[in-house]
């Protein structure tokens, strides 16, 4: 799985489908930001056991 390749056109198309008016100049920044976050979270999650739990109701204890 490659999560690092997000193109500016993909961001613009996603924004259109989501009915979001992007500010000028944002699509490239969003592509870069999302690629980095997705890649790093993916790497983090890949190190977890497949059945590692999700704690939906957060409790610090």
């Amino acid at each position: 799985m490659s999560t690092s390749k997000i193109r500016t056109e993909d961001v613009e198309a996603a924004a259109e489908s989501l009915d979001i008016k992007l500010a000028p100049g944002h699509s490239a920044k969003i592509a870069s930001m999302l690629a980095e976050i997705r890649q790093n979270v993916y790497a983090k999650a890949s190190a977890l056991a497949q059945d590692a739990p999700l704690s939906v109701y957060f409790d610090a204890r």
């Binding site: 961001v11 996603a14 924004a15 989501l18 009915d19 979001i20 008016k21 992007l22 500010a23 944002h26 920044k29 969003i30 930001m33 999302l34 980095e36 976050i37 997705r38 790093n40 979270v41 993916y42 790497a43 983090k44 999650a45 190190a47 977890l48 590692a52 739990p53 999700l54 704690s55 939906v56 957060f58 409790d59 610090a60 204890r61």
Partner: protein
């Protein structure tokens, strides 16, 4: 009544004591603070709204109650400020955003209601980074160097306290937004355990990462404020039914049995030398007071900031979903960018970040198994200049976000209680913060260690030139 000259330097514990014995008048104290705001805040720019008439009226009521023997406690008659994301009945609560510029709540949030019941005098609302989603808190300036950022998002709260424009203020912390500005302005702040303080009526940034808490001049004041703020709230399902101790009673000054965990990895990487030196001296100081220093390895923190961003951006985008479509141009550029990107965060990324969070929490539980607290720098460097987008720290070029969140955000992810106290000044005269982190719901030990340090240090007695 005594002369009020220099009273702004007192902490709540001291000024409250003088109010209770009627040697200081709440009205005179409030007039003094309003005068200081009028003279000084044109440079610091910490207040969004000053409530002159309401504050004086509250002070008059407090004075009459105290004169009549109805003393409510240490916050009675003490002027404080409220971050502009906390709902205040009948007073604009803008979150420093054009999206909310005309929002006037019809009731107080839980924390403000508790403060009013404790007799506090609310001087006004202080700035936040827009919707608390960032760290430079424009247009507020760092009280120590006006061409530097106060950090954020509770930048108005911290700068106002440092400049002597209130005795305390509320803050909120999603990735460091209480602790980072406390460190950057040379004051104290605590992010309590997730679920300790109600967020009902506080604008949401990220439901699962947001924490409400106090900022003040001293640790004793944090304890006084937390005594009022803490507790389960039926209006906030995130709060937990955990007994609230008397935090002030825990401040014994005795830390002889306390085991201080000093992380050997993540929290010592790429730290400005002056910050590393100040923190090392503070740890030595704590050791000289009898604490036992224990090196601690904490594994699995790589990627923690991206997990925090994935969660915060997704949850913030959900919260602002309607506004982003209806009035996108009313958001500031930086906030809008983060919300737009949050809309496009895959659900799997959000869920995996929350799953990683469980593992990170377990790593901290393991790290805290044989120690009572962890001690780290609050930030890897001192405050950045206004407009400075990157800072070279060790081997990395770090953004304002990185500087502010790198050492703080792990404790939003884990929900652990964490305080910042001043532990030094750089050669540039910029404050340095020491972060003390405890076990879940053990704010008592965090505050006890922080107070013990403060009792034997002088940093909380340093004031920026603009305050004098």
């Amino acid at each position: 009544m005594t002369d009020l000259q220099g009273a702004w330097k007192l902490d709540i514990a001291a000024v409250g004591s003088r109010i209770s014995d009627k040697s200081v008048s709440p009205v005179a104290l409030t007039e003094m603070m309003l005068g200081r705001i009028g003279r000084i805040d044109s440079q610091v720019l910490s207040y969004v709204t000053v409530l002159k008439d309401e504050a004086l009226k509250s002070a008059e009521i407090a004075e009459k109650e105290i004169a009549g023997g109805e003393y409510r406690g240490p916050l009675h008659g003490v002027p404080i400020a409220i971050k502009d994301i906390y709902d205040t009945k009948g007073v604009k609560t803008t979150a420093c955003s054009k999206v909310r510029e005309n929002y006037i709540p019809n009731q107080d949030c839980t924390v403000v209601r508790k403060f009013r019941e404790a007799g506090a005098v609310i001087l006004g609302k202080v700035t936040t980074h827009e919707f608390a989603f960032g760290f430079d808190s424009h247009p507020t300036r760092n009280a120590w160097k006006l061409d530097h950022i106060p950090s954020g998002s509770s930048g108005g709260s911290a700068a106002a306290i440092a400049a002597g424009l209130c005795f305390a203020a509320t803050g909120s912390d999603t990735g460091g937004s209480i602790r980072a500005p406390a460190a950057a302005n040379g004051i104290a702040g605590i992010k309590p355990t997730y679920g300790r303080v109600s967020k009902a009526g506080v604008a949401v940034l990220s439901w699962s990462l947001d924490h409400a808490g106090p900022l003040a001049r001293t640790v004793r004041d944090l304890a006084i404020l937390l005594n009022i703020m803490a507790g389960q709230d039926p209006l906030d399902p995130h709060t937990k039914d955990v007994a609230v101790p008397d935090y002030t009673a825990a401040l014994t000054g005795d830390i002889r049995e306390v085991r201080l965990g000093v992380p050997t990895d993540y929290f010592s990487e790429d730290v400005q030398p002056e910050v590393a030196d100040a923190v090392a001296k503070a740890i030595k100081h704590l050791e000289s007071l009898g604490a036992k220093v224990v090196p601690v390895g904490i594994s699995g923190l790589d990627g923690v900031l991206d997990c925090m961003l994935a969660i915060a951006m997704s949850e913030a985008a959900a919260y602002h979903q309607s506004s982003l479509r209806k009035t996108p141009d009313l958001f500031g550029d930086e906030t809008r960018l983060l919300l737009e990107a949050g809309e496009m965060m895959p659900a799997t990324t959000y869920i995996n970040a929350q799953r990683a969070r469980v593992a990170i929490k377990a790593a901290f539980r393991q790290a805290l198994r044989d120690v009572d607290v962890l001690v780290t720098p609050t930030q890897p460097s001192t405050a950045l200049k206004i407009g400075q987008s990157l800072s070279r720290i060790g081997s990395r070029e770090e953004s304002v976000f990185g500087v502010s969140a790198r050492f703080c955000a792990p404790f939003n992810i884990s929900g652990l209680p964490a305080a910042s106290v001043p532990c030094g000044l750089s050669t540039e005269k910029l404050p340095i913060g020491l972060q003390i982190v405890g076990k879940p719901f053990d704010e008592v030990t965090v505050l006890r260690v922080a107070d013990a340090y403060e009792r034997h240090s002088r940093w909380h007695l340093e004031y920026p030139a603009i305050a004098n």
